[in-house]
Amino acid sequence: MFSDQVYKESIETSKAASSLGFRDCTLGLEMASLAGGLLSRLYGVSCDFLRKCLWRVVTFGPIPKHVAVIMDGNRRFARNHHLKEGAGHRYGFVSLMSTLRYCYEMGVEYVTIYAFSIDNFKRRPDEVQYVMDLMHEKLSSLLKEESLVNQYGVRVTFIGNLKLMPAYVRETAERAMEATAKNDKAVLSICVAYTSTDEITRAVRESCNERRKSVSGSKLIMKNGDKSNGANDLITVSDLERHMYTAGYPELDILIRTSGETRLSNYLLWQSSGSFLHISDALWPEFALRHVLWAVLEYQRAQPYLEKKRKMV
């Protein structure tokens, strides 16, 4: 059903619609079914209007402030549709752009995506290289003026052990962070070379080193006759949270995993203690408006209970 040819056509169609000044209501795969400029224009305008009406109704209830996504299913999608190795990731990127658009239209302020795990480095070298090249290409496109991040005032940040990434990807990531540093409407956090246990270990390490410095500092003060409080030498949970990558972020409201898997796969284990875990059976490239809507509606059902638990903590 889907092929590289269709993908190219969908991108060309999307570009054509964008140049006419109309936003795509659903990007990529769904646009592939259109034929001709006028039809795509009408389709785009009507989708846009209907979608705005839908968000107006949905935002009557509570909307999550911080959404995290595990984008699982790209390789399975490529296998299912007999695509080239790695093509699933390209479709996945299109799906990511549309999902981000829906989130920002709804008023979600923080979106955190799991782009590349430390465990993924164990995959075949050619696949890892393909993903790195794709990341480099897509990050460069995000820096353009007309990109989605500038349209919605999104500040891009990177979470993870960036030293493990190749230098050229790291440089592009740093440029993306600098270019979007002044955007203040929303935040997109891209987790690369990330695992939750690595993050927790880093937080413990930073907290310990901070404590050791403050203890040696207080010992210097003691030499002058002042006393230091022994209790301040102990690390607390708030110290650890200050050293997490997500320090200063609002609490995670919903964590979405696609492709029907029920594991967290070492992602945001610390931050998800009070958040709603939503499993979607769709593969990530198939994740569309109806899946986003279902996730938000499920969250709205669970929100009163989760709010109560947070207040108790």
Binding site: R56, V57, V58, F60, G61, T195, S196, T197, D198, I200, T201, V204, R205, S207, C208, N209, R211, R212, K213, S216, D233, L234, I235, T236, V237, D239, L240, T262, R263, L264, S265, N266, L269, W270, S272, S273, G274, S275, F276, L277, H278, I279, L297, E298, Q300, R301, A302, Y305, L306, K309, M312, V313
Partner: protein, 315 residues
């Protein structure tokens, strides 16, 4: 005059926008409220239909009609965790019933967790009543002996204090045991802590434990409520609904789905494999306890349990 000038500058379409008019009279809010509630009513109906379908499926599984669900492969399921909403954790008879079922199925190690520590406080009650189920407290039993004796299920009870605070305590343990080597000029060398170091520190501080393969969540929403993060890396998390309405069929279905997902012995039928010849392969039967009276006997297993009968739909 100023107002007229302002109005002249406002686009005509905006001045008579129906949305603005509706907003002024609060009608828009009422319409949105009705539509929002209607959408959620549809969602509730869908959930009800899914629940009914699941109940039917649980019944069909226990009747043994589905070939796919003939047996449970426990080779991949050694450790289970159960997260219970603290208000539901006060229903200790339900907790006891669940532990009995898991013990009957043959799960080797169970970690019970509730956020507020209700289960920890009820430890005495649970220990008194669990003796007849061959369940031992994990930290009290000699671990080597317990793990060798596959008939004994070991039990661990945790609360929120074993979660984030445990990591802080492990950090303090590392802080206190790190060698005080000073570099040149009296400055301390920075600590280099790896994941292994933190894992060992957690064990040393008394917060070690196996990573569960499967985690059941009992509560209104699918949320792990602060289960120790260090042990959740690759755990399959399944939301089971409310503990009070839990049926044995739902437990079996969830464990079966897990074992089917992780099985690696092929699709041979039970007869060709031979019951008992494949270690860890358990035929689905219904335990004596908590069963209804209308069952009929067929072949009896070593535990004296009954195979599925007509009354399962009431179970």
């Amino acid at each position: 005059m100023e107002r007229a000038e302002v109005l002249n500058n406002v686009p005509f379409v905006q001045r008579i926008s129906p949305v603005l008019v509706l907003e002024r009279y609060g009608v828009l809010r009422i319409i949105l409220s009705v539509l929002w509630n209607l959408i959620h009513l549809i969602v509730s109906v869908i959930h009800f239909a899914i629940r009914m379908a699941n109940k039917l499926q649980h019944y069909v599984i226990l009747t043994g009609l589905l070939k796919k669900y003939k047996s449970i492969d426990l080779r991949k399921l050694q450790h289970m965790a159960i997260v219970i909403e603290s208000e539901e954790a006060t229903q200790l008879t339900k907790v006891y019933r669940l532990l009995y079922w898991l013990s009957y199925i043959g799960v080797h190690h169970v970690t019970l967790y509730d956020m507020d520590g209700v289960l920890k406080e009820s430890k005495k009650f649970l220990s008194q009543n669990l003796r007849d189920l061959s369940i031992k407290a994990w930290q009290e039993a000699e671990k080597a002996a317990a793990f060798l004796d596959k008939k004994v299920m070991t039990l661990e009870i945790l609360s929120f204090s074993d979660s984030k605070e445990a990591v802080a305590k492990a950090g303090n343990y590392l802080l206190s045991t790190y060698p005080e080597n000073s570099g040149s000029g009296g400055q301390k060398i920075e600590m280099s802590i790896t994941e292994d170091d933190l894992g060992k520190a957690l064990c040393a501080a008394g917060f070690g434990g196996p990573e569960p393969d499967l985690l059941f969540v009992f509560g209104p929403a699918r949320c792990h409520l602060g289960f120790p993060a260090w042990r959740l890396r690759y755990t399959e998390i399944v939301h089971m609904g409310r503990l009070k309405s839990l049926k044995y069929g739902a437990v079996v279905k969830a464990i079966l789905d897990y074992s089917v997902k992780n099985q690696n012995y092929g699709s041979d039928s039970l007869e060709s494999l031979g019951l008992g010849k494949v270690p860890g392969l358990v035929q689905i039967t219904i335990p004596n306890k908590f069963s209804r009276s209308r069952c009929y006997h067929s072949s009896s297993s070593p535990k004296g349990s009954l195979t599925v009968g007509v009354s399962m739909f009431t179970y």
